[in-house]
Structure formats: C-alpha cells, structure tokens
C-alpha cells in the first residue's frame, strides 16, 4: 500500500514539477526575445494557456449550451425560442425565477454585511485567530456535511415527541410550544436555506474584508480619529470607502456562488416546497429529466441574470483602470 501511495504522490509531484519546469524553461527561452517580439511573446505565453483552457473548458460548452437551448430534449428538433417561452410561461419556473432573485439579492448582501461587521469587530479582540477560524470553519465543511448539520437544525417532529431539530427545540425552550414545520413553511423556508449559505460564506467575507481593513494605512484612520471621527462615523467615512473595491469583489463572488448554488437546495429540499432555484432546476432538467433544450434555456437565463452584475463590475474596473 505504501508503494502504491508513494507512486501516486510521486507522480503527482512529478506532474507539478514538470508543469513548473516547462513554464520556467519557456520563460527562460522567451526572456531572450527583445523589442516588440518580447512583448508579443509575453502576451502569448502568459495569457495563452488561460485563454485556451477557457475556450475549451467553458466557451465551447457555453456555445454548445446556447445551441442546444434552441432544440428539443434530445436535440433532434429545432424549436426556436420554444424552450424560452416554456420557461417564461410555466408557473413553476416563475417561482424558480422569483426565488433565484431573492437569493442573489439577499444572501450576498447579508453575507457581506455580516462579514464586514465581524471583520471590524474581530480584529480588535484578543484571540482573534480562534474566532476567525471557528467562523471560517463552515467553508471547509463539504456540502454533504453542511446539509447534515442543517438537517439537524431544521428537522421537524411533532411537538409531543422528543425533538431532533435544534431550532424547534430552542423555540420550545423559549416557550413556543408549537413551532412550525420549518422546511415546509413557504416562503420562510427560502430564508432558512439562505441562512445555510450565509453560514458557509460569511467566513470567506470576513477573512477577505479583514485583510482589506488591515491594509488601510494607519495614518488615514489616525488622522480621522484625531479629527474626531469615532465609531460609526469613522467606519462610514473612512473604512468603507477605503475598502470599497474589496467589498465589491466579495459581493460579486458571493453573488456568483449564489447563482450557481445547487447543492444546498438539492440536499435540503430537492427543490420542493417552493424553494427551487435556477441552477438546481437546470441540473434537474439536464440530468434527471434529460431535457437538454430546457436545461440549456435555463442556463442561458442564469447567464443573463448575471449580466447586470458583470456590467456593473466592468464599469467599476474600467474606472479603476482609468485612475491608475
């Protein structure tokens, strides 16, 4: 077994070393180029691999998806925009679109806000590493793990029975003797599921924002404090503007994760009880119902949903580039 293990790990390290070695060799050789050639070579060699991977791994599949979205379930009959009319005409999909919208608005904002508050507060505490690690820990737990954890939070039992769901038990400890069946309570259940997302992602937001706050030059906060800014005013007038671009990055990242979210929904409700979201519905259409056309159309909608986000970030980035 150890022989087997060392062969596997040896191969892996060999692959990494080979990969880095080839890159270094290429860099070394290309480093001899001069003038315009050097610049072109740099663009080609440094950017080329990423662009190629993206083309093969994402652009081509995306194009294929768009193409498939115009066809029927097994791609044998051209439907035009039939799958899109289905998506906009189906009342189930309306619910899905509404839920997706709720998710991408609420979850990222709450995650980022909470992460920001924690970043501000935690940095000033003794033993911050412990707090940070504990809050960050959900990031390290797989979705399978997370869904088990939350199953034992939201599980429902008849109030007369011993409870296995923590939330119900807490309600009962506090005197609410008839808590609802959480996961069935629409639209509350959507928010309960969002809490899982927030629970997982807040650590990420906190860690990144905390690093950004620490990077604010001390003299700026110092000057503001001397000017009399305290607490909230310091936060609103100095801290927030200084880390604005990081906030946007965190918000964007969490939002995109949210859009692609399907594990939580899949394991917690399977998309039932009015909690379905676009990514999971797309997965179902593609892999349970084998309807490539509808799945493709939903994927395109998912893509379109992110266009405003992309546009906003593009504008921000351009502004930043300009200032630079």
């Amino acid at each position: 077994m150890w022989g087997d293990t060392s062969i596997k790990l040896g191969n892996t390290l060999g692959a990494v070393a080979g990969f880095l070695g080839v890159l270094l060799l290429l860099f070394y050789l290309a480093g001899f180029a001069r003038g315009r050639l050097s610049r072109r070579l740099a663009i080609l060699l440094l950017l080329g691999p990423a662009v190629l991977l993206l083309l093969v791994g994402i652009v081509v599949p995306a194009a294929r998806t768009i193409y498939l979205s115009l066809y029927n379930e097994d791609s044998t009959k051209f439907l035009g925009f039939g799958n899109y009319t289905w998506a906009f005409g189906d009342s189930d999909i309306h619910q899905v679109l509404l839920n997706t919208l709720l998710w991408i608005v609420i979850a990222p904002i709450l995650t980022t806000a909470l992460g920001l508050v924690l970043a501000l507060l935690v940095d000033r505490l003794r033993g911050q590493a412990v707090y940070k690690s504990l809050i960050f820990m959900p990031m390290a737990i797989s979705f399978v793990g997370a869904s088990i954890i939350w199953k034992f939070v939201y599980a429902y039992r008849d109030p007369s029975q011993p409870q296995i769901g923590l939330l119900s038990q807490i309600c009962m400890w506090f005197g609410w003797h008839n808590p609802p069946n959480w996961i069935l309570s629409h639209p509350l259940n959507n928010f309960l599921l969002m809490i899982i997302m927030i629970w997982v992602q807040t650590g990420f937001a906190m860690v990144v924002l905390s690093a950004a706050i620490k990077a604010i030059p001390e003299d700026i906060t110092e000057a503001a404090v001397l000017d009399g800014a305290q607490g909230w005013r310091l936060f609103a007038n100095v801290t927030i503007p200084m880390i604005r671009s990081t906030i946007i990055v965190v918000l964007t990242t969490v939002m995109i994760t949210t859009l692609k979210l399907f594990d939580i929904i899949r394991t917690m409700t399977g998309g039932n009880f009015g909690t379905q979201v676009l990514a999971n519905e797309m997965y179902n259409q593609a892999f349970t119902e084998f309807n490539n056309g509808r799945a493709g159309a939903l994927a395109v909608l998912l893509f379109l949903a992110v266009v405003p986000l992309v546009a906003y970030n593009v504008a921000m980035l351009r502004k930043e580039r300009e200032v630079r």
């Binding site: 077994m1 892996t12 290309a30 504990l134 399978v144 003299d219 630079r324």
Partner: protein
C-alpha cells in the same frame, strides 16, 4: 499617483503602526462588540458541534433524539469513525486511505495549476495592455457564471475521444499522472474565471514603479512576473489557494465524472458518498466522514492564515 504613495507609506512604516493601532483600537472597541463576536461565534459553531457530537453517537440515538441529548445521556462510540476509516469495500482493503491519497494527489495540482496559469494571465491583463485585453478580461469575468455542469459532457468527450493530445501540449506532464490528468485539467478550467478575476484585482493594484523599474532595468515580462509580481502577490495567491483547495477537496461532481469513481483515482467525497448506503443516509457515518474530511482543509487554512493577515508586508518581515 495617490494610490502609489499610499502603498509606499504602507510598505515603509510597519514599525510605527503597532502603538497607534492600539490607540485606534481603543477608540473603536467596546465590551458590546466582544459580546457580539462571541455570540456570532457561538451561533456559527453550534451546528458544527452538532455534527461532531452526531458523529460520535450510536446509530439509533441519532435518529431518535436531538444531538444535545448527548449532554444528558452521554453515550459515545468511535464505531462510526472506525467504519469510515477502516471498513473498506471489498475491492479496497485500506478503508479511506487510498481515497485520501487520491484526494491529495488531485487537490494539490488542481490548486497549483490554476493559480499559476491565472496569475500569469492576470499579469498580462493588468500590466501589458493590448488591443482587446480589456475585452478578454471582461469575458473571463463573465464566464464565471457558466455552470460547470454544462461543460461535463463536452469535456468528457474531449478527454476520452482523442483530442487528449490537445491537452498534452498544455500540460506536458499529463502522461506521468495517468488518470488524474483529466481531473486536474477539468478543475483548472473551471477555476480559471474566478482565479483570473480575483488575482487580477490584486495584481493590478501592485505598485507601478516596482514593476516599471524592473522593466527598465532590462527584466523581461517573464522575469518581472516571476521576480516581482509573484512575490508581491503572495497574500492574494495564498487566499485564492485556500479557496481553490477547499473547493477541489470537497468536490464530488468533477471528481466522480472525470475519474469514473474507480478506487485507483477517485477522491474521498466519492467514497464517503458510497459509504452512506444504497437506501439511506447513514448520518452517523456521513458525519464522521465529514469530520475526517474537514481535518486537512483546516490544517491548510491554519498554516496559510498568516498570509491573509499580513497583507502586503508578507515578505518584508521574513525576507
């Protein structure tokens, strides 16, 4: 220019910051915030504590009483961990070990490859402007949202159908890794948009003069990238590394699809999923498995954590 001077100050005066920071800290802190953080930490930890306790309880108890009942009736067992770690399937006698090895063998390259390639791309997009470079960057950004499920079939076709050679030219070490290569490549591809986006944001804000001085000194772009950009970008690389590591480590879908799930190459989550039984969630086993799989990411997080905190000063202290 304002930004540059800011960076300059940041780099130049670390020694002075310590005393003033405490001053500011005092100005901002209150017992209330301590309580608030404590509260959030507890709320955040309790569900995980539930996971840990559940993993230590016997099967019957798990289904019948809440995990907090454990405190009233402590009834511990390590049987679940024993099942997860040592009860191998018939084909695999070493329990979880081979899968753990596979997970490592998949995760390490699948973390390093995208980071290196993405930081290369991010450097070009941030520092070598050319016609269309903005467009390429925005395309990268926008493609983050393409669900990877959509790419599974075309990619499998690519890997299994002979265009494999196309990937060989990208990663010349493919042949050595054997059947891990498709997983590495797939993870690298799927990580690329987010990696380029995050690393670009950081690399674009590196001090311009450091990079230009090296350029004028005659360093090629490759040299600048290797000797100036990569060291400066260490904090960003470390934070992205953590997220990529966690993502690959916990991934089931890509690993299962591109290894076919065989014990020779499949990662741990596919084994854990298989341990959970055909007709049911054996929660006690899944919870134990979840805890086993959390250990390594936590170690990674703890060992890389200081890079987050140190920010731009990363290298200067140690040298």
């Amino acid at each position: 220019m304002a930004m540059l001077t800011r960076t300059e100050r940041k780099r130049s005066e670390p020694a002075r910051t310590a005393p003033t920071r405490t001053g500011v800290r005092r100005a901002l802190s209150s017992p209330l915030s301590t309580v608030a953080v404590l509260l959030v930490t507890v709320v955040w930890t309790v569900p995980s504590l539930g996971l840990l306790v559940t993993s230590l309880r016997p099967e019957q108890d798990v289904a019948q009483t809440g995990w907090w009942d454990f405190f009233a009736h402590p009834h511990l067992t390590l049987a679940n961990y024993h099942d997860v770690l040592f009860n191998g399937g018939f084909g695999v006698s070493d329990g979880l070990m081979p899968y753990l090895v596979n997970s490592l063998a998949i995760t390490v390259p699948a973390t390093i490859f995208p980071i290196v390639l993405a930081s290369m791309a991010a450097y070009v997009l941030a520092w070598i402007p050319f016609k269309g470079s903005d467009t390429i960057f925005f395309v990268f950004f926008a493609l983050q949202v393409v669900p990877l499920q959509m790419a599974l079939v075309p990619l499998l076709q690519l890997f299994s159908g002979g265009a494999h050679i196309g990937s060989l030219t990208i990663f010349p070490a493919v042949g050595m890794g054997g059947s891990y290569a498709p997983v590495w490549i797939a993870h690298t591809m799927f990580a690329m948009p987010l990696a380029v986006f995050l690393l670009h944001n950081f690399i674009a804000q590196l001090p311009r003069d450091l990079i230009e001085a090296a350029r004028v000194d005659g360093a090629s772009h490759f040299r600048v990238f290797r000797s100036v950009v990569l060291p400066l970008a260490t904090p960003a690389l470390a934070s992205f590394a953590i997220f990529q590591f966690l993502w690959v480590w916990n991934d089931l879908l890509v690993g299962l699809t591109f290894t076919g799930g065989a014990p020779e190459s499949a990662p741990m989550p596919s084994r854990l999923a298989q341990l959970s039984g055909s007709f049911g969630d054996h929660w006690e086993i899944l919870t134990a498995g979840a805890f086993v799989s959390v250990v390594i990411p936590l170690v990674v997080f703890f060992s890389l954590q200081r890079y987050f905190v140190r920010g731009l000063l990363a290298g200067s202290v140690k040298g």
